[in-house]
């Protein structure tokens, strides 16, 4: 992580999160290694995408950063200050700086509260501002997300789903967060709505100087909005680098399969040449060595014994033993 243009905002250092698997009489029968030895850094103002199949640990990563899960090992630093480590309790001031956006941020509004009350609530909890000061701040945020002021007196069911989404975002923005973690923000949306939502995310980032962590399985969306991406497989980072660079010349065989699987309108049918078979193995029983080796077309004997570390070349890192070989 050498040539970051902006100062580092968030550092993740060898983060791990394991879940116990309980059997008969609540006895511990195994460990689900949802996150293992994950390290990366996010620069200020950057949009970092996290991609991978379901069950690869991307949501666990987001939740561990947020403090919803406690890490099993490793630590997370925000502007050099340690905010998450095994056994550490999170301070309220830190919680306001990081915000988490679920698939549908509008769903987190209380149906019995007016939008004004919903928007005031985080400020009442986290600040000691006067009512007038809160109101002024709320109005500024509401106009920034493109909602009319008159809507503040309405209830969630009186506005459309798209507007609810905007209110949900406004609620996250009132506390002035530095880092926002989006967890699958566009899945289940129609493309025409998705385009509008992405444009809103872009505008807000510029207006408020935000840093985004963008968890998604939609490669086209990630490609259009992220500066850098992290590709995860079974709880580990397999590739990290600039979005354009990774999409142009993916180095890990898993990244290649993932990119090859996405349909390209105007191109040949990918289903005719797609080779990756099966689905990721059970995360409570991961393969030894490289975790992708059971599905990897390039796997050799060595892959079963050596767990590859991330190998960087010009800011583009890959965890594969064979990526340098020309014949790939």
């Amino acid at each position: 992580m050498s040539d970051l243009p902006a100062p580092t905002l968030l550092e993740v250092d060898r983060l791990g999160r394991h879940f116990p698997v309980r059997g008969f009489l609540n006895r511990r029968v195994g460990t689900l290694r949802a996150l293992d030895d994950v390290s990366f850094a996010v620069g200020e103002g950057e949009v970092l995408g996290i991609v991978g199949e379901s069950g690869c640990g991307k949501s666990t990563l987001g939740k561990t950063l947020m403090g919803i899960h406690e890490p099993t090992s490793g630590e997370v630093r925000l502007r050099g200050e340690r905010i998450a480590a095994p056994g550490q309790k999170r301070a309220a001031a830190v919680r306001a700086k990081l915000q988490y956006v679920y698939q549908d941020p509008g769903a987190s509004l209380d149906p019995r509260w007016t939008l004004r009350r919903s928007l005031h609530e985080p400020l009442i909890i986290h600040t000691d501002w006067s009512r007038a000061k809160r109101e002024e701040h709320v109005q500024a945020i509401v106009s920034a997300v493109g909602l009319p002021q008159a809507h503040l007196d309405l209830y969630p069911h009186e506005i459309s789903g798209g507007q609810q989404r905007r209110v949900g975002l406004a609620r996250i923005l009132v506390l002035g967060p530095q880092l926002i973690i989006f967890d699958e923000p566009t899945s289940g949306l129609d493309v025409s709505v998705q385009a509008t939502v992405l444009a809103l995310f872009r505008d807000l980032r510029e207006e408020f100087g935000l840093t985004y962590l963008f968890i998604s399985h939609d490669l086209a969306v990630v490609r259009s909005i992220c500066n850098r991406i992290v590709v995860m497989y079974l709880g580990r980072i397999v590739e990290i680098g600039d979005t354009a660079e990774v999409f142009r010349a993916p180095r890990h065989p898993y990244t290649r399969s993932l990119l090859a699987a996405a349909p390209r309108i105007g191109g040949p049918r990918v289903t005719e040449s797609f080779t990756l078979q099966g689905e990721p193995p059970d995360p409570s029983n991961v393969p030894s060595g490289c975790r992708f080796r059971t599905r990897c077309p390039l796997a050799i004997d060595k892959c079963a014994t050596i767990e590859p570390a991330i190998d960087f070349e010009g800011g583009h890192g890959v965890a594969c033993l064979r990526w340098r070989e020309d014949a790939l």
Binding site: S54, Q194, A199, A220, I265, T271
Partner: protein, 338 residues
Amino acid sequence: MAPLLDIAKLSLSFRTESGPARVLDQIDLLVQPGEIVGLVGESGCGKTTLARAILGTLPERLTEIGSGHIRLDGVDMLRDDQATERLRGRVVTFVPQDPFASFNPLFRIRAQIGDLMRWKTPRRTASRFGWRSRAEQKADDEAVLAMLDTVQLPQPRRILEKYPHELSGGQRQRVMIAMALLPEPRLIIADEPTTALDVTVQAQILGLLRRLAVERGVSVLFTTHDLGAAWEICDRVVVMYAGQTAEIAPREAFFAHPRHPYTRMLLQSLPEEGRDAVGIPGAVPSPLQPPPGCRFNPRCPRMTGICRDERPALSGQHGAHQVACHHPVAVSEVAGNV
């Protein structure tokens, strides 16, 4: 060649407390034998309603059929209940969006496929009480195992002994496709079969569906809101907007020269490198009070007076590039797009 599925001028509404919701408005659709047709549209455009109308599974008391017909293999699916019962599950089968909701969680896969084979088996005139001779049972079991193998499920015998929750999403969808193929249907209706799946699994499932359909000469009506998936699998694409047919075209022509303004804007909404995706301003109109004329007119940049007064008819002949618009985009205007 006679079309397998023939839908003409189909209008359908649901009774609601606030008046009829006109969800389908004069839909035209033809599916030829062996053809894979994509039914594309945003949520609320009526694609699932259309799929269910073809299967005859709409709630009877709430549905009001205005005009038109659905003919499957010459049988009127809207009015002939007995014939519909005979065809459903045999001539036409269904692959749902969420396979987990379609399995009974209390029974093993073996029992559920067994039931299917008992009542919808393709080979003989099934006994009314589902009775099968020993030899027939054995033949059915072998057909099931062969089919599970065809949909590339490893160790089919072990899959049969599992409960639905023990299978992954991709495996469940494969079992569903196997069950849809077992009665040897002539038409499979797949309602967003890959939206809940990862891209790698989606590529496997789409490839499988297409290969099996082509090999067996089965027609597929594939509804989706994912234009990329439509490109992967379809021979022909039908676009619906708010219950109306907007455009019907062969796959290549559709993606290279979309002619309906809605279709063009839909394609421009796709995120792509090098340009910011443009959304479509406004929202899909409510079926309770659809706009008069062309239902896209409140959101359309090419709207003029006639769009409000008159509903545009679908141009051209079946098989050609058909569009329902008063001011379609000329092919020369979009040359170089995509």
